[in-house]
Structure formats: C-alpha cells, structure tokens
C-alpha cells in the first residue's frame, strides 16, 4: 500500500475515534441493505470521504456522487477502507447498484456493485452480504473487491 494512502487511512481512523466511541452504546443505527430499495445510480464522484458506519467496525469509503440525470447528490457506502484498493478520483464517472435510503434530507446508497474505469467491483451479494466478510468472495482475486 502506498505511504500516502496509509496516512489518509490513519487520519481517518483518528478522526473516526470519537464517533465510534459515541456509537459504542450497542445501538445499531445504520440502515441495513434492503433489497426492496435497490436502485442504480450513475454519476460523477464529487468527493471521497472515510466515515465510520457500523459500530466497532473499520471506517468505510464513502463516495459523494452527483447523479447525472437528476443532479441529485448521493452518499454511496462502498466498503471498509482496507478492502477497497482501487484508486478513485474526483470527477470520475461511476455506476453504483445498491440499496437506497433517505436520512436528514440526504440520499444514501449502500453499494452492492460498483462500476468504474472499465472495472466492476462486487461488494455484496444479492441479499447484501458483504464480500469482505468471507464466504466465496474470500477466494481468488476477488477478495479485495477487484472487479472482473
């Protein structure tokens, strides 16, 4: 892993500390992957952020995407930072398939599949099981979320 990325991850971890501490009460506040709200969003990356999403878990890579058709902003939850080792940049076109929900007047999407730069990343299975938590995705080249 490149030194710059390590620094970014460390910075995120430090930043995430207080937030994680706040969520350590046993509460499960994050929305779950709901197959009934699955949708495809195609847009441009406006921002890349790392945020703690689940209690006692590593921070996640979040893409702030502006949808091409509507101009609506989506915050796409991709995967834990350690799992995703592909370089994404602001301004890149991406296509995300995932479960959507609204919160505090914002639009969110939990990504199941991400297409970017000619590659496809399978981040969850069809019922939302995360690829970084083992199972079949652990095997082969796909365990890092690398697309095909």
């Amino acid at each position: 892993m490149r030194p710059a990325r390590v620094l970014v991850i460390l910075a995120c971890l430090i930043a995430a500390g207080p937030v994680m501490a706040n969520q350590a009460s046993g509460r499960q506040s994050a929305p779950f992957y709901n197959v009934d709200t699955e949708k495809q969003v195609e847009g441009i990356i406006r921002e890349l952020v790392f945020e703690p999403r689940y209690q006692d878990k590593a921070p996640f890579l979040i893409l702030v995407i502006e949808e091409k058709k509507t101009g609506e902003i989506y915050r796409a939850e991709i995967s834990p930072v350690w799992f995703f080792d592909y370089d994404l940049h602001k301004g890149e076109n991406v296509r995300v398939v995932g479960s959507t929900y609204s919160k505090d007047q914002g639009q969110y999407i939990i990504a199941r599949r991400l297409q970017c730069g000619g590659e496809t990343f399978f981040l969850r299975d069809s019922r939302g099981f995360p690829s970084w938590r083992g199972g079949q995705m652990k095997r082969g080249e796909r365990h890092k979320g690398r697309g095909m």
């Binding site: 499960q28 099981f129 995360p130």
Partner: protein
C-alpha cells in the same frame, strides 16, 4: 471356477455391499440432517420465545427497541435479529455483518421459518409475533446460524467417503488376493488334470507293453529251449553259432525284463546313504561301461550330504543322469553339486555339452522320448520316476550354448 463365474460369485456381492453401504449412509445422512434441522428449529423457537418474553417485558418498562438490542449482542449462533412493529416496519436491528439484514418485503409475509443461503453458510430465519401486556403487537426476526449443522453434515460426508474408500481399498486387496489364489488354483487344477491324463496314458502304455513283453517272452523261452536242444544235436563246428544265437535270445529276454520292470510302480526301500557314495557308484559304473577321459569330472558339496532314500534306485537315477550328461558332452565338464537348503537337498547335474533344444525341454522326461539313435527314451523317465517315488522333484534347464543342468530336489536329507 471360470473367470466369469468367479466375477459373479465374488465381485457382484461386493458391489452389492458397496451399494448397500452407499444407500444406507445416504439415508442415514439425510435422517441426521433432517433430525438436526428439526432440533435447530426447535432451539430457535425456544430462543425466540425467551427473547420475546424478555423483549415484551423490556418494552413494557419503556426501553426503546434500539436500546434493547445492545443487551442481546454476543449470542454466537444468532447472525442478526430485528424488532418490527405491528406493520412489520423495522424498529431496530442488529447484525454481525455490516448492513446485512436479508428481510425483504416478500419475506415479511412469511409465517413459517425459512432457510437462506449465504457465503458463510445456511441461515435459519424466523419471523414471529409477540405482544406486550397492553396488547401492542411486535415481531421478532431472527437469523440463526446453521454452520454447526453444515460442519456436522460435511464431517458425516467425509467420514462416509473415508469409510467407502476404505471398503473399496479392502475390497481391491481382498479381490486381488482371491484372484491370485484362484489363478494358482486354476493352474494347479490344470496341472493335476494334465498329470491325470498322463498317468492314464502311461497306464494304458504299461498295460499294452506288459502284454507285449509277456507275449514275446513266451516264444523266446521256447526258442531258447529249442536252441539248447539243437546245440546238443548239431555238429561240433556249429555249436558255437547256436550258443551265440542262444546268448542273443537271452539278451533280448533281459532287455524285455528290464523294460517291464521300468514300467512297474517303484517302492523305495529307504535308508540313509551319503550322496557322494551314491554318485560315485553311479559314475564308476558308467565309466566302466564307457570310459571318456576327455570329459572332466567334478563333484562338490559344501558339507557332506546324506540322503534319505533307496540307495540302489538313487544310484540308478544318477547313473541315467550321468549317462545322459556324458553322452551329450564330447569334450568339457560333467559336474555334480549338492547343497542343503531349508529342509531339502538340491543336487545339480550339469554338463557343458550340446544342450537340449528349447522345444524338447518339456518332453525330456516323457517315456520313450529320445533324440539319440540308440536310446529308448527310458533313462530320464526312470530318473524322474525314482525322484518322484522319493517325494522329490526334478527339472531341467538348458541355456543355449551352455549345456544342460538337471536340478533335483529331495526332501528329508541332512548334513553330516
């Protein structure tokens, strides 16, 4: 037993056993799996009931659903669970896997438990209602791990496969053994049948030959008597001729006697005698008949060997073998070597003579089989008969250009 019958007799039951084992293990596995699934279902139902009672109590006490979740974390076999309101809207949920709660709108309508496949194995799902004392209805959704069941099934499969492989391996070894035994049995049977046929043929030949000998000897005796009478009446100058004729007739009678004797079964009068003495007696007798100084004679034994047998018959046997060796060797060596191996005496009679052609090797011990102009084909036959009468065996090998070697195995001998 013929090859096909053998296969049917042994192989088919074995395949049957394997099939029965396979069917039994499959049925057993299915039974265990069903039973375990049923147990898991019962366990999940019981767990859900306990949960529901506690949840109802906590909700009545005013706890919020999301606060209650924290109290029930850590149950190893529960992958996820959720509390739903009466309209099946999720009030709070918890999952071991980030964002993973596979409860779709379609699943919300289920009243029976269902199994879901996931990358970490099968998950047993159950959605069941419970209510507070005030009548407000909630639903509890539980996802229970079937990993233990799957591990158990996998282990049962592995054990069955191992057992099956073991059975197959044992079967293969067993059948190879039985097959080898059967092959040996077939060979022995063929040998016995061949020996029986030969014995039968020989019995017929013996009977015929004895009859011929008897028929010849009667007129020979008459002729001999006539010649004796004639000898007295003929002039003195022809008496010698008549005497010669009579001697020739007696020679024919002796040959016929010897011939008849050789066809009779042998009954060895056993005793202990040194092999060297037997071989030397045979060798001396042979050299008296026909000396052959250009052939070198050798006798060797690691330690003095004593045979348990009929000395006269054994001398006759070695005389025949040595005669055969000397006749086949114009210049070279004739040797006899002896040694004791385990409980048998091995004697090798070798020569460096012409050897025996490969196509004749198998017949050299047959009666009346000979490649010589003068021989009758009795010598080697008689040698074999004597050895076999002593419970021994005789064989011959003749590598091209290296003469011939007769090997005798005799039981019951010893060293000095």
């Amino acid at each position: 037993m013929k090859q096909k019958a053998f296969l049917l007799f042994f192989f088919a039951p074995f395949i049957g056993i394997l099939v029965i084992f396979f069917v039994f293990s499959t049925l057993n596995r299915t039974f265990i799996q069903d039973k375990t699934e049923s147990l898991v279902q019962e366990q999940l139902a019981a767990t859900a009931e306990i949960f529901k009672v506690n949840l109802a109590h906590l909700l009545e006490e005013g706890y919020r659903p999301e606060d209650i979740l924290g109290m029930y974390k850590g149950e190893e076999n529960i992958y996820y669970f959720a509390i739903l309101d009466e309209n099946k809207n999720i009030l709070a949920w918890s999952s071991r896997y980030e964002g993973y709660l596979p409860l779709s709108a379609q699943d919300s309508g289920r009243t029976e438990p269902w199994v879901l496949s996931s990358p970490v194995g099968k998950i047993f799902n159950r959605l069941s209602p419970f209510s507070r004392d005030d009548g407000r209805v909630y639903f509890l959704y539980l996802g229970y791990s079937l990993r233990n069941l799957e591990e158990m099934t996998a282990r049962a499969d592995r054990d069955s496969l191992l057992m099956f492989s073991f059975l197959v391996a044992v079967g293969i070894v067993f059948f190879l053994g039985v097959f080898e035994l059967q092959k040996k049995y077939l060979i022995k049977t063929e040998e016995a049948e061949e020996a029986h046929r030969e014995k039968e043929r020989f019995r017929e030949i013996s009977a015929f030959t004895s009859s011929v000998a008897h028929e010849i000897k009667n007129p020979l005796n008459s002729l001999s008597l006539l010649l004796e009478l004639l000898q007295k009446k003929v002039p003195a100058d022809t008496k010698d001729d008549v005497a010669l004729g009579k001697a020739e007739l007696q020679k024919i009678a002796r040959i016929i006697d010897w011939f008849s004797d050789s066809l009779k079964p042998l009954r060895p009068n056993k005793g202990t005698a040194p092999l060297k003495e037997i071989v030397t007696a045979a060798h001396d007798a042979l050299l008296r008949e026909a000396p052959k100084p250009e052939v070198e004679w050798r006798y060797s034994e690691s330690r003095p060997v004593f045979l348990n047998g009929d000395k006269n018959l054994l001398v006759q046997c070695f005389l025949n073998l040595l005669r055969n060796a000397y006749e086949a060797t114009d210049r070279g060596t004739v040797s006899v070597e002896a040694e004791k191996r385990r409980k048998k005496i091995f004697v090798r009679v070798s020569d460096t003579g012409r050897g025996i052609e490969p196509d004749r090797l198998s017949r050299v011990f047959d009666p009346f089989f000979t490649s010589k102009d003068k021989g009758m084909g009795i010598g080697l036959y008689l040698a074999r008969k004597i050895i076999e009468a002593h419970g021994g065996r005789i064989g011959v090998e003749s590598p091209p250009g290296r003469g011939a070697t007769f090997t005798i195995q005799l039981p019951g001998g010893r060293h000095e």
